[in-house]
Symmetry: C2
Subunit: 208 residues, 2 copies
DNA sequence: GTCTATAGAAGGATAGAC
DNA sequence: GTCTATCCTTCTATAGAC
């Protein structure tokens, strides 16, 4: 229970993470001071240390929660997974774009601030990211084996698809010429092409 | 002329930019101190200000030169441009991958440190990046009009291709399972698919 | 052209009053 | 739970000797 009006531990901790997420995304982890964060939260700098042991942990928690959210959201989404590989990929593309456009700040941090993690924290985050890549690769591999896809390379296709989809967050503005739905359709179209290369008249092999 | 042995202005300036590039890429602009850079260069912190007016200019120069190098290198490369659009795209893909794998540090900085540029510097850099995107889009548009490509959306195809190609720099290690040549072939294969979507049996339209 | 020394500001984190 | 005050470190940038 809170002892003072208008504040309690859990709530302030949430506000703190939200404020830090916003500021880290905008200026970068190293460029943001604890005093700036405190101002954004509406408390004094010293009070922050009631909710986080230090700045590094704050960064790690933001990234870690983001990746947990991602993995959990996909687990839920893919609980009702279609059987057709092309439909699975479509589900993935739509999911990835929607999820990432909904939390541009956290996405940005999770990609840009890896350098600022301690080595142990870095490993934890990277392994969760790999998990996500593996989920996509599994869909691709299965669809390739089944004959629904014609892949150039399953691992690199997974990397390429995630890179191009996540890239949307770098240029998307809600008021642009395209709605999030338009964008989903266009990227679906591109991904379909990417997983369906017509090998016949191409000089390159299908993999290393 | 240098007045002391082993040093002269131009040379030290080059060494300074190289040291800053390395450190900014590794730890991030905001996290690197002028003292660290000085140590890397092998001089004292104060001496750096003979070669750069401040830290911000140092960052800007690294990015600006990188984009100039990119645009100049492509200008030279495309001086001998094939006439066939598919061959043009192949030339672009190979060029982009090779160029970017050759200078991972500068690429990293040019993407990650945009936030740390002053507004004027930011605009200069962004306009050069747009120039490069426009070059690719022109190839795509032309090939689409000519019937060599079947595009989902020319602008977004340009974004997607650049994002997936540049993404190589985030995972490529010289000692991995794939050589730079293997990688070029695989990405060529994927890009060919991406620009050749077979619209017949697809529910989505070709653009907004 | 490089050094040492330092000004002056800002950083992360803690102590203790309330 | 939050504040003020503060410790100690580190930062960018400059001044002036050599």
């Amino acid at each position: 229970m809170a002892r003072k009006s208008g504040s309690d531990g859990k709530k302030t901790a949430r506000i703190l993470r939200a404020a830090a997420t916003k500021l880290f995304a905008q200026y970068g982890y190293a460029a943001v001071s604890m005093r700036q964060i405190a101002t954004e939260v509406g408390v004094q700098a010293g009070a922050l240390y009631l909710y986080t042991p230090d700045k590094q942990t704050l960064l790690f928690q933001i990234m870690d929660r983001h990746l947990d959210d991602l993995l959990n959201a996909w687990a839920e989404e893919s609980a009702t997974q279609p059987t057709e590989p092309m439909a699975q990929i479509e589900q993935f593309v739509r999911f990835h774009i929607r999820f990432h456009l909904d939390r541009v700040d956290a996405v940005f941090i999770a990609y840009m601030e890896l350098r600022n993690l301690s080595p142990e924290n870095f490993e934890l985050i990277e392994s969760k990211r790999r998990q996500y890549e593996d989920l996509l690769e599994a869909i691709l591999r299965n669809g390739g084996k089944e004959g629904s896809f014609s892949l150039c390379d399953s691992r690199l296709s997974a990397y390429a698809i995630i890179a191009m989809l996540t890239g949307v967050t770098t240029w998307y503005r809600g008021d642009g010429r395209l709605s999030a739905n338009n964008i989903e359709e266009i990227y679906l179209c591109m991904v379909r092409g990417l997983v369906s290369h017509s090998g016949a008249d191409q000089p390159s092999s299908t993999g290393p």
